[in-house]
Amino acid sequence: MPRNAIAAQSPAPLPPGLVRARGAHSRWAFLIDLGVLIFVFAAIYGVYSIGRSWLGPAVPGAKISQRPSILPLYALYSLVRISVAYAFSLAFALGYGYVAASSRRAEIILVPLLDILQSIPVLSFLPGVMVAMVALFPNRQVGLEIGSILLIFTGQVWNIAFSFYSSLKTVPRELREAAIIYRFGRWQKFAQLDLPFSTIGLVWNSMMSVAGGWFFLMACEMFVLGDRDFRLPGLGSYLQTAASHGDTRALLWGVGTMIGVIVLLDQVIWRPVILWADKFKFEQVESGDKSRHSILTFLGKASFVIRAYRFLVLPFFSRLTLVFAGGARRAARTFSHPKAEQSRPWIGWILGSTVLVGLGFAIFHAGSEIAGLHREDYSALLRSAALTFLRVNAALLIGALWTVPVGVAIGFNPRFARIAQPLVQIAASIPATALFPVILLFLIRMRGGLEIAAMGLMLLGTQWYILFNVIAGAMAIPTDLKEASRIYRFGRWARWRYLILPGIFPYLVTGLLTASGGAWNASIVAEYFHFQGRIVSTAGLGSTISRASDSGRFDILLAATLIMATVVVLINRLLWRRLYRLASTRFKLES
C-alpha cells in the first residue's frame, strides 16, 4: 500500500526507463502477462479455500494431517495468517507512531507503553485473546483464526510502531518547514514527507517482525488452554504435531517446506522491496553501486501490471490528494500557528478519564487475581526469573563470543563478505523453533541436554542480530584508521583494543540490546516443549508462563508476565540505555 501511495504522486506515471520502453516492446510481454494471470488464478483459488476453511464450523481438536502432500496448503494457511497479521500490524503501527509523534500529551504515555508491551511475550496475551475470540464466534472457525492472527500480531507490531515513531521524530527541520510554508495538508504531508522518510526503517523492521512471526508460529497455531485444546491447520501445527509424535520424517518435510517458503519470500518480496526502498534514502549524493532486482524488472515488463497501475491506482491516489488539498486550503488560514494544537480540552478529559477508569479496573482485577498467590509461589517465580536471567545472558555471551570475530572477519574482507553474507542471511531467516525439534532429537538423551537445548534455541533466535550489527560496524570502520593500525604495526591485541572493539562498540550495543529482548521473549518456547508425547521443560520464567497458560493458571501467568516485563524494562533502562548513550557520544566515529 505505501508503495502505491508514494508512487502515485508521480505525474509522470512510471519510473522511466525501467518500465515503459522495455515493457511495451518486449517480445516476451505476452508470456509474462500469462504468467501473472496464472498467478492471479492460483491466488483466487487460495483465497477460496481459505474462505471455506475459515467460514466452516469450528473444529476444536482438529486433526493435523501429517501427509507431506498437505504441506503446500498448510504453508498457504500459515502464510496468510502471518500476512494478515502483518497488514494489521503495519496499519496499527502507523497510527500509533503518528499519534505518539504528533501529540505531546499522548507521547508521554504511548512511548513508555511501547517499551513495556514489547517486553511481554506472545503467550501472555494468549488466554485473553483466545477466550474473547471463542466467545465472539462460538461456532465458527473464524474466531480461532482471528485469535491466532491477533497472537502473531502482538509479536510483530511494537517494533514497527517504534520505528515509525522515531523516524517521524527525526524528520529534518527544514523539510518540515518546507511542508508548512507550502501549505501541505495532512494527507500530503503524510504521503510526501512522513511516510517516505520512514520507509527504510519500516522495511527493515517489517522484515524483523515477519521473521518473528515465523519464529512464534508453532506457539500461535497450536496450544492448550486449561482443558481446551486449540489447533489450526498450518505449518506451525504440522511441525508441532510431528515433534510431539516424534515423527522424524514429517518433521524434516515440515522444516524443509518452511525453509523453502522463507527463502522464496526473501527472494520474491524482501529483496525487491529493499532495493525499491533505496529510493527513500535520505542522502545528498547517490551511492555508488546500483543493483537491479530481477523481480522488479520482471514485473515491470508485464504490460498487464502497467495498465492496472496506470488506470486504477494512479487516478485513485491523485483524486485522494486533491480531495484532501481542499482541506489544506482551509487549513492554510491558520497558517501562522502550524503547531497550535486545537484545544478541545473535553476530548482530552473524556479520553483521559476513560483510560484511568480502565486502568483502575484492570489493576483492581489483576490485584485480586494475584492476591491468591502464596509466598512460595513468589519465591518460585523469582527463582525462575533468576534462572532465565542467567540463561539469557549466557546465550548473549556465547553469541557475542562467536559473532564478534566472525562478523569482523566478514566486515573487513569484502570478497569474503560477498560469499558469506547471503548465506548468513538465509541462515538467519530460518526460524530456530522449526529446527528445534530436530536438535532436541539428539540432545534429549544427554544429561543436561534440555538446558543446552534451551540456551541453544535462544542463541539461534538472537545471535543474528548481533552478527549483522557487528558486520555493519566492522564495515563502518574507516580505511585510514585500519591503515594507521597497519603502519604503526599494531599487534593483534592492540588492533582489537584500540581499533576494532571501540569501532564496533555502538553497533555491538545495538545488536545486544535487540538480542536481549528477543532472548527473553524466546524463553517461552525454549524452556517448555511438547515432545514425543510428553512435556519436556526446564525451570525458568518462560516455562512458568507456558505451563501457566497450558494449565489455565491465570494468576501465575499474570504474575510471571509482570515480572518478565519489569525485568526486561529494568535491564533496558539500567544497562542498555546507558551503554547506548556512551556509544553515541564517546564511541561515535565522526568525520
Binding site: 507550502y182 547517490e286 497558517f335 501562522s336
Partner: protein, 438 residues
C-alpha cells in the same frame, strides 16, 4: 531600486518584534531584542550578521514559521495570524524531498493548493525552464549537483508566485563559482521582472553577497540580536566587485561589524536594546587559540597593520571565519581595531614572535587578565581541595546568561582556551576539570 520607492506601504512590517525563552526562575533568555523591520515592494533586503546571531530566527518569525514572543508582524497592515501570506522560502540545506523528482518537488506546493494536474504541469514546467533546469524534470535530487539542487529549491519557491521570496543562506552550501553563477541568475530574473515576486528577503553572512544583491542591508549585532547598522545600496547593476563604490561599501560594513557594539548611532529610530536585566558577562568569540596565533603571525608579517576587508580578501575568508579571531585578539589585548584597520599591540607583537611554549605562557597571562570567565574558573578550581570540578558546574553558571545552545558553545570555547593556556585540564570521559599545577 532607488530610495524613492520606500514611500509606498510595506508588504511586511515587524513592530517591536522579540524572541525570548522564559526560564523557570521567572527570568528570560533574550534571543532577539525588540526590532522593527519593514519589507517594501521592489526591494531586495539583506539581513547580514555573523552566524548564530539570530538571523534565521528572524526570518522564521517574519514568515510565521516560528511564533513571536512579543511585538507583531503585519502583512499589508493585518496581523500575520489572520492572513495566509503567499511566501516561498529557499533553504540553506535545499530541503528538497529526495524521493520526489525535480518536477514532483516543484509541483508539490501547487498540489497542496488543489490545483488540477494539467495546470500544475504547465506552471511547474514554465518555472523549471526559467531557472535553467529543463531536461532535468524527471531526475531525483540526489542525481544533481549542489547548484542544480538549489535551482530546484528556487523553482519550488517561485512556483507559488510568492509575494515575498525568503532566502535563508541560500548560497552558503555551494562552492564560490556556483554561488556566483546562481546570484547572477537570480538578479537577472529579478531585474528583468521575469518573476512576479515583489520583494526578496535574503539572510546571509557574506558581506559581498549582500552588497552585490541588495538594495538595503540590515546588519545585525548579537546577544541578543538587534539592528546594529542599516545601509542603503545605490550602486547600479551589474555590480562589479572591483568597483570603488562597491569596495567602499564593503569596507564600511566591515567597519560597522568590527565596531564595538553601541547600537543606535546609525539608525536611532529602529535600534535594539540589550534587554537582559542581568549583569553583563563578556561573550567569548568562538575561536580556537590556533586561529588567533595564525592571525597575529600574518599581521606581524604585514608590518603590524592591515585593512580587515583586504585581509579577509587575501585569505579568502568570509566574515564568519575572520571576525571571531579578530574579536578574540582584541579581547586578549593583542590587537586594536580602528576604522576597519587591525593594528597589532606590543603584546600581540610578542605573541607572534614567541615559540610554542612561550606563546602558551603569554596567552595564559592575557587570558587571566582579560577574560573574567577563565579567571572565575581558575578561582573556583583553586577553592577546591582536590582541584577538581565537573564541567557541568560551569555550564550551569553560563546557563543563567545564555541560551542552552550558546551556553554549551561558550563552555566549549572556554575549555579550548583554558586547556591551551594550561590553566586547567579537562577529562572528557569523566567530564571533570582539573587545575594544572604550575
Amino acid at each position: 531600486m532607488t530610495t524613492s520607492t520606500i514611500a509606498v506601504e510595506p508588504i511586511i512590517e515587524a513592530r517591536r518584534l522579540e524572541k525570548y525563552y522564559p526560564q523557570p526562575d521567572g527570568s528570560r533568555i533574550q534571543v532577539i531584542a525588540p526590532t522593527d523591520i519593514a519589507i517594501f515592494p521592489g526591494q531586495i533586503i539583506a539581513l547580514l550578521g555573523p552566524s548564530g546571531c539570530g538571523k534565521s530566527t528572524m526570518l522564521r518569525m517574519l514568515t510565521g514559521l516560528s511564533p513571536v514572543s512579543a511585538g507583531s508582524v503585519l502583512w499589508h497592515g493585518h496581523p500575520l495570524s489572520d492572513e495566509s501570506p503567499n511566501v516561498g522560502i529557499v533553504f540553506q540545506s535545499f530541503a528538497l524531498f529526495p524521493w520526489l523528482t525535480v518536477l514532483e518537488n516543484v509541483e508539490a506546493p501547487l498540489e497542496a493548493r488543489g490545483m488540477p494536474r494539467l495546470e500544475r504541469d504547465k506552471r511547474a514546467l514554465r518555472i523549471i525552464d526559467a531557472v535553467g533546469l529543463d531536461g532535468f524534470e524527471s531526475a531525483y535530487p540526489k542525481e544533481l549537483s549542489g547548484g542544480m539542487k538549489q535551482r530546484v529549491g528556487v523553482a519550488r519557491a517561485l512556483v507559488v508566485e510568492p509575494e515575498v521570496l525568503f532566502m535563508d543562506e541560500p548560497f552558503s552550501a555551494l562552492d564560490v563559482l556556483t554561488a556566483e553563477t546562481l546570484r547572477g541568475e537570480l538578479l537577472e530574473l529579478w531585474l528583468d521582472k521575469k518573476i512576479p515576486t515583489r520583494a526578496i528577503f535574503i539572510v546571509t553572512h557574506n558581506i559581498e553577497e549582500a552588497v552585490e544583491l541588495a538594495d538595503r542591508i540590515i546588519v545585525l549585532g548579537r546577544n541578543p540580536a538587534h539592528i546594529h547598522a542599516n545601509f542603503t545600496v545605490d550602486i547600479a547593476h551589474p555590480r562589479d566587485h572591483k568597483m570603488p563604490e562597491f569596495v567602499e561599501l564593503v569596507d564600511a560594513i566591515y567597519r560597522a561589524l568590527t565596531k564595538p557594539d553601541h547600537a543606535g548611532e546609525l539608525i536611532p529610530a529602529s535600534e535594539g536594546t540589550h534587554a537582559t536585566g542581568k549583569k553583563h558577562i563578556i561573550m567569548l568569540p568562538h575561536t580556537r587559540p590556533g586561529g588567533v596565533a595564525g592571525l597575529m603571525e600574518i599581521l606581524a608579517d604585514q608590518g603590524g597593520k592591515a585593512d580587515l576587508h583586504q585581509l579577509a580578501r587575501d585569505l579568502s575568508l568570509e566574515v564568519d571565519a575572520l571576525l571571531p579571531a579578530v574579536d578574540t585578539a582584541v579581547l586578549l589585548g593583542m590587537l586594536k581595531v580602528e576604522e576597519g584597520d587591525a593594528i597589532i599591540t606590543p603584546e600581540g607583537q610578542e605573541f607572534a614572535a614567541a615559540d610554542i611554549q612561550q606563546r602558551k605562557a603569554i596567552f595564559r597571562k592575557a587570558a587571566l587578565a582579560n577574560v573574567p570567565l577563565l579567571r572565575q574558573m581558575e578561582q573556583a578550581l583553586k577553592a577546591k581541595a582536590n582541584r577538581t570540578l565537573p564541567a557541568e558546574f560551569f555550564h550551569d553558571l553560563l546557563d543563567e546568561h545564555f541560551s542552552e545552545e550558546e551556553a554549551h558553545r561558550q563552555l566549549e570555547t572556554a575549555l579550548q582556551w583554558g586547556r591551551y593556556a594550561e590553566i586547567f585540564d579537562y577529562d572528557a570521559s569523566t567530564g571533570k576539570l582539573i587545575l594544572t599545577e604550575s
